[in-house]
Symmetry: none
Subunit: 127 residues, 4 copies
DNA sequence: GTGGTCTAGACCACC
DNA sequence: GTGGTCTAGACCACG
């Protein structure tokens, strides 16, 4: 289900957060669907339960999931507002990465192509 | 000259690397121009010299500057090859950020506008 | 375990890098084996932890080891490609040293004998 | 006459020492021949005279040249003994470099070919 | 317990 | 004056 790189410099819990975000964004995991329990995921991935917990808490903080104590963790509905803060941060990151990419020779057309691909992937599920 | 967030989770030397990259990319600092000396920057920013050193060595590793021991640190000429690896990494990051941005409601047109702005900023200096 | 010359002009961390390379090359330290922790080595050699760190990071940069933050440093698998650059540098050094050695009277047969010894030492572990 | 890399990490005086050694070893500069004066070389290379001086002193220390105060610097006769110390050091370096080269995949035959080339270059002048 | 980062301050080689 | 190295010792994130 997941491929985590235990040798990566990036913390495992962050990798988990990213992977789960992808699943949510691409709507493999749908709104209100239950995520695998900490214990199950922990044994499946042979990873410390604390690490899973930390990832779930982080996703909750970012509004991607919500937790019902005693029940489990569930995918949250996307709120298209209240994200201005996060969007500002993303925009900033975007500028940084784009600057470097263009400086190193990536072409504008290549970038636009990437955008289109991502756009299809993300919004493809909606109508 | 710089605004560093000493409280950020992101290491100071990484922040410095990013800030300096921006200056180089936007050609505020030009090829072969000398960067402020480790000690000068250290006192200006009230940051330990070792931290500045680390940032400079990282920039050198990435090919953005070169160092002449006993002379100083200087902006390197851009090499348009040998960047394929770095570009692949940037592309990957790009996909990740774009996914999330689009998911959270950023519009394709907005993104393209950002690209154009960055493109002008970076390539504006060239002819 | 190591004999470092603290008075040498050669930086301690470079000496460490060389010593560790020998251990890795001669397969005293085997692939994926854990290296002594920064702190342990630091107290064993009565050398500052930062210096050990620097040596480890240099070895990582050269592809001899990899680091798992929070876990330790481990011997990397040898990659037989991507070394062309390094090999070119080594070849250059070789020519320089051989020139001087032959000029000072070292005989071709002696050198070939040395090669054979090294060859056995390095490739002896393989089949 | 010389190509010095002012951008190299290696000190300029060391580069000079190496270049001059090559000229002496390959007998472009012959025994008792006079080396260019510090002043001349200094202006030719647009390099600080102190740096040239340092290189000459180093070559003298290693027995490659001798200096007649008020006259100049001259190529010394090779002494085929008294070099045991230097030869031991070279041998040690040789082992180190060969180990790494072989470890990284350089073949024994390649190395022997290099030796032959160098041997011809160095001893070619003699009969 | 592990590596990663940072500070404060020192000494050295180079030019 | 410049970068390069090193020490002594601290704090933090990670698992």
């Amino acid at each position: 289900m997941f491929e985590l790189d235990l040798r990566s410099r990036k913390p495992i819990y962050e990798q988990l957060v990213e992977k789960l975000k992808v699943l949510i964004i691409s709507e493999v995991l749908k709104t209100d669907e239950q995520l695998p329990s900490v214990r199950v995921l922990s044994t499946q991935l042979t990873i410390n339960p604390n690490t899973i917990q930390k990832a779930y808490r982080e996703l909750e903080r970012q509004g991607y999931i919500y937790s019902l104590p005693g029940k489990g963790n569930f995918v949250a509905r996307v709120t298209r507002d209240g994200n201005t803060e996060r969007l500002a941060k993303l925009r900033e990151e975007l500028v940084k990465i784009l600057s470097e990419a263009i400086y190193l020779g990536m072409k504008k057309e290549d970038i636009i192509k990437i955008i289109s691909e991502v756009d299809v992937m993300v919004r493809g599920g909606e109508k």
